[in-house]
């Protein structure tokens, strides 16, 4: 049977097992949309803005581990999608983005809705392709999927000129089962000698520390990680991106590390003598000032991307490989090793850590007439039994959700860590809810972030997505306000949110349920009522304490041991310059 380019494209997606396509139609992709119309295998989700299509596909990918697929038109379709592509790129999320392009003969003529999609996306994709030959379409799509999901995952853009999808030109269809790219061969297995060395170092450590990142979740290595950590009995911390890979409720977990990390996690990083970083990339929000980073530690780094090794912090034992495979190899080495960790040293190390832990760095002032944002997240954990998929936007609410929800499972915490994209949360939640229609999906957001993609409430109605939106509304761009309080002499330049919409009316006009919650006494019953409405999207506009800050905090230029603590925790340090 012969197929047109548009039909081939859809057929390839089907053969890749694609379930959902997130997109928005337009001139350059009309042929593809016509082919979509004539089939039932792939469900198309029509968003209200192309940015949301990319975030929704991204959320779907983060929750399922499968690539997210996007279809947008040329010109503004592409430029609107850029934010979402860059978001996925920074967090290494597998995504295939099909962009329409003007006809081959028109490229470069400043045609209507023409942009150089290949040029404009080059620096925020893992790779991109411009299709110039219909006969190469299927093979290129195979390559795009292969590149997106293997190695360090990432978004791949396929730019398809309109003439390629011409319904009148049909060719025979063949989709390759596998593909080999000579210039792209990601390393999977760790180097055996390096693994042996790492295991020896870990077993000889006096103050060991395990630091894990989003790579553990992307690499589906949560189970091997748990075996590794339980087997050694060592303390573990996680980056924002890695939360849930190891259960937060386990005693060995010291909480998140970094700028807004737990006191005990950051102190243990500072004092450890052997550090193993697994699927983490030593991001600046994690390390603090590099010259003060882990001053006493020998560092082992496991990562699939060789360019991540010694990029920011020089490591002693690099291991390039798939984290799941390397952890398995390490677990095997530990199983047969006669050497064991020094129990007495480890006990002493835990006593030190428990000392830091007793400072209760996450305590906050629960008194007062206003709702505390931290209490909302703790209550959310309680109501959802800690088992919800939680997406977030960017800012204070994101940090509180990360700090107070307590993720016990991987793929449940979905946020834009690398790029820090406001507007991510709601569309990402759509992707998650479509993947798991029966699960509770919550979008924790702020009154600033939610307005960046609020139009997606309309998409949620169209596809019946019962997302629970929790807006921590403090009338401020909270994180900006916090920095202005700490570092800019309380000059709150353009961080106050005036003229907010009536979120309840707004939500209702979109056909959903809205709640405005101001009284701490109403919080629990109203949230319970909201979560009892299983089939409705409920938007909870929760007015919270206006000037609450996120603690602990490491300021720019400071090390892990120089945190600014909440005034309400046991150890409240004087803040330099305050």
């Amino acid at each position: 049977m012969k197929l047109s380019g548009a039909e081939i494209l859809i057929r390839c997606l089907k053969d890749e097992g694609v379930e959902y396509l997130f997109g928005y139609p337009g001139g350059a992709v009309l042929n593809i949309y016509d082919a979509l119309y004539q089939q039932d295998d792939i469900k198309h989700i029509m968003v209200r803005h192309e940015q949301a299509a990319t975030h929704a596909a991204d959320g779907y990918a983060r929750a399922t581990g499968k690539p997210g697929i996007v279809l947008v038109t040329s010109g503004p379709g592409v430029t609107n999608a850029i934010t979402g592509i860059a978001t996925a790129y920074m967090d290494s999320i597998p995504m295939v983005v099909i962009t329409g392009q003007v006809s081959s003969a028109m490229i470069g003529s400043d045609a209507f809705q023409e942009v150089d999609a290949i040029g404009i996306t080059r620096s925020c994709v893992k790779h991109n392709f411009l299709i110039n030959d219909l006969f190469k379409l299927a093979e290129t799509i195979k390559k795009a999927f292969h590149i997106a999901i293997t190695g360090r995952p990432g978004p791949v853009v396929i730019d398809v000129p309109k003439d390629i999808t011409n319904p009148d030109i049909k060719i025979s269809y063949h989709y390759p089962d596998t593909i080999k790219i000579r210039s792209y061969r990601p390393v999977v297995n760790g180097h055996p000698a390096q693994i042996k060395l790492a295991v020896q170092m870990l077993l000889n450590a006096n103050r060991p520390m395990i630091y894990t990142g989003g790579g553990v979740i992307l690499g589906n290595a949560s189970e091997e990680l748990r075996k590794f950590v339980y087997g050694l009995g060592y303390p573990i911390t996680s980056t924002l991106m890695g939360l849930g890979a190891f259960p937060a409720s386990n005693d060995q977990f010291l909480g998140m590390l970094g700028m807004h990390g737990n006191y005990e996690a950051n102190m243990a990083m500072h004092e450890c003598d052997v550090l193993i970083a697994i699927g983490a990339r030593f991001d600046d929000r994690v390390t603090g000032e590099l010259i003060y980073f882990c001053p006493y530690a020998k560092i082992i780094h496991v990562d699939i991307d060789p360019s991540s090794i010694s990029k920011n912090v020089t490591v002693d034992v690099p291991i390039v490989g798939d984290v799941s495979v390397v952890l398995k190899e390490m677990n095997q080495a530990l199983d047969v090793s006669v050497a064991r960790p020094d129990i007495n040293m480890l006990k002493e190390w835990w006593i030190t850590i428990d000392g830091w832990r007793s400072q209760k760095c996450m305590s906050y002032d629960k008194r007062g007439d206003s709702i505390k944002p931290q209490a909302v997240i703790e209550l959310l954990h309680h109501i959802t039994v800690g088992d919800a998929y939680v997406t977030s936007d960017v800012g204070q609410h994101q940090m509180w959700a990360a700090q107070y929800y307590g993720f016990d499972k991987p793929n449940r915490w979905i946020n834009s860590g690398g790029l820090g994209t406001m507007g991510f949360g709601l569309p990402a939640a759509m992707g998650v809810q479509l993947a798991y229609p029966d699960e509770t999906v919550v979008c924790v957001t702020g009154e600033g972030s939610i307005q960046m993609c609020i139009q997606e409430l309309s998409t949620c109605l169209q596809y019946g997505l019962p997302i629970k939106v929790i807006t921590l509304n403090n009338h401020y761009l909270g994180m900006v306000r916090q920095w202005q309080e700490f570092f800019y002499g309380n000059r709150y330049s353009h961080s106050y949110m005036e003229s907010l919409p009536d979120f309840v009316k707004l939500t209702e006009s979109y056909g959903h349920v809205g709640m405005h919650i101001t009284d701490p006494l109403d919080l629990k019953p109203m949230m319970e009522r909201a979560f009892a409405m299983k089939n409705r999207l409920v938007f909870m506009d929760i007015v919270t304490e206006q000037t609450e800050n996120v603690y602990p905090m490491i300021s720019n230029g400071k090390g892990h041991n120089e945190m600014h603590m909440s005034p309400h925790c046991e150890l409240s340090q004087a803040w330099e310059g305050r």
Partner: protein, 165 residues
């Protein structure tokens, strides 16, 4: 800071070069010279990049270059005993036969080739190492050089070390 020469074998495809140059421009690093041409296998291109940076930056850049999907393999030539060559085409204007003879003499001394002569100009081709080329240009200082075209550096490692798939 040090001068580095990197050899790349890269897929001979549209866009491959922009990925390479993009890595440099995004970090505000300058490429001093870049030569690229298809190899005996026309699906591959060979690229010679010359840049000046610290060893630390060079190591990072090598990793980033290797990470590009289209880059098949890479060799940092400055770490190896190697030979580098550049070709320059130099056009000189003359007014007297004495001037022409002087340019011819210098060209002979430097083993250059005269590739074009008109009633007022002489064009010389010289392929050599950078130092020797600079010395030749210097020796022409009293003449009226109209234009110099530089090919950029091509390099190859000494001995059996070679860049291949």
């Amino acid at each position: 800071m040090k001068r580095h020469i990197i050899l790349l074998l890269i897929e001979n495809e549209a866009g491959a070069l922009s990925y390479v140059s993009g890595l440099f421009s995004a970090r505000a690093y300058n490429i001093e010279s870049l030569t690229v041409a298809p190899t005996e296998d026309p699906s591959l291109s060979r690229m010679t990049i010359v840049t000046t940076c610290t060893d630390y930056i060079m190591e990072k850049m090598s990793k980033q270059l290797n990470k590009l999907i289209d880059v098949v393999t890479l060799l940092e030539l400055t770490n190896e005993p190697h030979i580098e060559r550049e070709m320059r085409l130099i056009k000189v204007k003359f007014e007297t036969i004495a001037q022409l003879n002087d340019v011819k003499l210098l060209t002979n001394i430097y083993s250059g080739n005269i590739i074009d002569v008109t009633s007022t100009t002489i064009t010389i081709e010289l392929t050599s190492s950078g130092d020797r080329l600079d010395a030749f240009i210097k020796s022409l200082a009293k003449h009226n050089i109209l234009e110099i075209a530089r090919s950029g550096i091509s390099g190859i490692a000494c001995g059996e070390t070679s860049l291949h798939i």
